[in-house]
C-alpha cells in the first residue's frame, strides 16, 4: 500500500512540479542567448529574473508540498484519501516520501539547468573558446589536489546523510503542523496559526537540537591570507564522531516524535470540514 500511495501522490502532483521544472529549463536555455545579445539592460533584467527564479523555485516547491499535504488530506480530496483502506502511518510515510522525492527532483533539475546554462553560454561566447578541455581538466586536476578542495568535499560528504535526514525532518514538521491545524483543536484562523506554529516550533526544535551537542566538524586554518588575499591552501578540519552521532540521533528522535504526534492527531482528533 505504501508504494501505491506514493504512486498516486506523485500522479496527483506531477503537473505542478513539471511546470516549475519546465520554467527552469526554459530559462537555462534562453538565458545565455539573451546575455549574448549584449544589451546591458536586458542582461541586468535577466540576472534579476534568474535570481528571482531561484527564489521562486524554492518557494514554489515549498508551497506545492504544502498543497500536496493540505489538498490530499484535508480538502475535498481528503474524502477519498482518508477513506482508503490504508493504515494511518502508511499515509504519513507516503506523504513524507512524496515530498522528499519532489525535493530531490528539484535539486536534480536545478543542477541540470545550471549545467545547460553553462554549456550554452560557453559555446555562444567565442571569447571563452581559448579555454580548451585539456586546460580545463588540468585546472580541475590542480584544484582537486588542494587541501581546501579536499577539506570542503570531505566535510560536505560527511554532512550529506545529516542533510538528507534534516530534509525528512522538515517535511515531517510541515505535515505535523498542517495536520494539527486541521483537527478539532483549531476552529478558526488555520493558516495564520499554522504559519506561527511552524516558525515557532521549527526554531524551538533547532534551538533544542543545537544545545545537545557541539559541532561535529570544525574547520582549522583558512584558504586565504586575510591581509594579502592570497590563496594559502591551509584549510583542514577535525571530525567529532560523537557529536555527529548525537546530532543525527537527536533529529531522528524529533522525527519520531513529530511522526507519532501526526499519527495520534489523525487517529484521535481529525475533523474534516
Amino acid at each position: 500500500m505504501l508504494i501505491k500511495s506514493i504512486k498516486h501522490d506523485l500522479m496527483a502532483t506531477y503537473r505542478d512540479f513539471f511546470a516549475i521544472y519546465l520554467a527552469l529549463l526554459v530559462a537555462a536555455i534562453i538565458g545565455p542567448f539573451i546575455i549574448q545579445s549584449g544589451q546591458q539592460w536586458i542582461i541586468s533584467i535577466l540576472i534579476l529574473l534568474i535570481f528571482g527564479l531561484v527564489i521562486a523555485i524554492v518557494v514554489v516547491t515549498f508551497i506545492t508540498i504544502v498543497r500536496l499535504y493540505y489538498q490530499r488530506l484535508f480538502s475535498a480530496e481528503g474524502y477519498l484519501t482518508l477513506t482508503l483502506p490504508v493504515k494511518t502511518h502508511t499515509t504519513i510515510i507516503a506523504k513524507i516520501l512524496t515530498g522528499l522525492i519532489w525535493s530531490l527532483c528539484t535539486i536534480v533539475v536545478f543542477t541540470i539547468s545550471g549545467t545547460i546554462f553553462t554549456v550554452i553560454f560557453y559555446f555562444l561566447n567565442e571569447s571563452l573558446h581559448f579555454i580548451d578541455m585539456a586546460q580545463i581538466l588540468t585546472i580541475v586536476n590542480l584544484v582537486m589536489k588542494t587541501n581546501t578542495f579536499v577539506t570542503l568535499i570531505q566535510s560536505m560528504l560527511i554532512q550529506a546523510p545529516y542533510g538528507f535526514i534534516q530534509s525528512i525532518y522538515s517535511l515531517t514538521l510541515l505535515l505535523f503542523v498542517i495536520t494539527f491545524v486541521n483537527t478539532s483543536f483549531i476552529k478558526k484562523g488555520k493558516l495564520a496559526i499554522g504559519v506561527a506554529i511552524y516558525l515557532v516550533l521549527g526554531n524551538l526544535i533547532s534551538l533544542a537540537l543545537s544545545v545537545t551537542h557541539g559541532a561535529p566538524i570544525e574547520f582549522i586554518g583558512s584558504m586565504m591570507n586575510q591581509t594579502t588575499g592570497n590563496f594559502v591552501d591551509d584549510l583542514s578540519y577535525t571530525f567529532n564522531a560523537g557529536n555527529y552521532a548525537i546530532q543525527i540521533a537527536g533529529i531522528i528522535v524529533v522525527i519520531a516524535i513529530l511522526g507519532y504526534a501526526t499519527w495520534w492527531l489523525l487517529e484521535h482528533k481529525l475533523e474534516i470540514e
Partner: protein, 228 residues
C-alpha cells in the same frame, strides 16, 4: 453489522450528535433528517473522517480504521476527485486501492450512464460528476455502502437513473445507508428508516412498521415529526 453505542459529537459547544445508539443490519436504510440534524456528521464518523467523538463504533467487528474502510464504499456529498482526473485515472486509483473493485462493472456503468471515460472532471456538469462518483462507489462489491445525499443535486430524471443504478448494483446481503432529505423520491426503496432530529435518533424502524402504525407514508410522517 454496524453497532453504534452512545456516540456523542460536539463542534465546539454545539452538539451535532447526542448519545446515538443504533444497531444496523443489512438492507437499505434511509438516514433521514432536515439540514443540520447530524446525518453527515454520523456518516463522517462511520467513515473515519471525524475522529474526535465519544462512544463506540463497531463495523462488522472492526473499529473505525483501515479494516472498516475496506468494507465501506462511501459516496460523500461533494466531489472528492481532483479536477484533472478522468474515469481512467479514477479507475486506476480504485483498482489499486480496493480489492473488491470490479473494473468491468465500472466500465459497464459508465456506458449505461452515458459517461465518457476520457472526460476530465473539470469539464463535467454537477450531475455528471455525481453519476460518475456513484458509478465508482457502486462498482465495489462492498459489504456496506454509505451514500450521502446521492440525489441531492440532480434533476428528477437523473434521480431515477441514480436510484436504479443503486438498486441494480448493490449486493443483496450488503447494507446500503442513504442519507437524504428528498424522501418522496426515494422512500419506496427503503427497508428501514432512521429519523435524526437535532443530533438524536427519534425513530429507527422497518418502513412497513412505520407505514402501518402511523397510517401514512414515510414522507408524510417525516413532515409531521419535523414540522416547524
Amino acid at each position: 453489522m454496524i453497532e453504534i453505542k452512545k456516540v456523542t459529537k460536539f463542534y465546539g459547544k454545539t452538539p451535532a450528535l447526542v448519545d446515538v445508539n443504533l444497531s444496523l443490519q443489512p438492507g437499505i436504510i434511509g438516514l433521514l433528517g432536515p439540514n443540520g440534524s447530524g446525518k453527515t456528521t454520523l456518516i463522517k464518523i462511520l467513515n473515519g473522517l471525524l475522529r474526535d467523538y465519544k462512544g463506540e463504533i463497531s463495523i462488522d467487528g472492526n473499529k473505525v480504521g483501515d479494516g472498516s474502510k475496506a468494507l465501506i464504499s462511501y459516496l460523500p456529498d461533494r466531489t472528492y476527485l481532483p479536477n484533472w482526473t478522468n474515469a481512467e485515472g479514477a479507475i486506476t486509483i480504485f483498482k489499486d486501492m480496493y480489492e473488491d473493485f470490479d473494473e468491468n462493472k465500472m466500465r459497464a456503468l459508465l456506458d449505461k450512464l452515458n459517461l465518457d471515460p476520457k472526460q476530465r472532471m473539470k469539464t463535467m456538469s454537477k450531475g455528471m460528476k455525481e453519476k460518475f462518483q456513484l458509478a465508482l462507489v457502486m462498482s465495489r462489491n462492498a459489504k456496506i455502502y454509505i451514500l450521502d445525499e446521492p440525489i441531492g443535486g440532480v434533476d428528477p430524471a437523473a434521480r431515477e437513473l441514480i436510484l436504479k443504478t443503486i438498486l441494480e448494483n448493490y449486493a443483496q446481503d450488503s447494507m446500503v445507508i442513504i442519507s437524504t432529505h428528498l424522501i418522496a423520491d426515494i422512500e419506496q426503496i427503503f427497508d428501514q428508516v432512521i429519523f435524526l432530529k437535532e443530533g438524536q435518533v427519534v425513530l429507527h424502524d422497518q418502513v412497513d412498521n412505520v407505514r402501518s402504525a402511523k397510517g401514512m407514508s414515510i414522507e408524510e410522517y417525516f413532515k409531521e415529526v419535523f414540522r416547524c
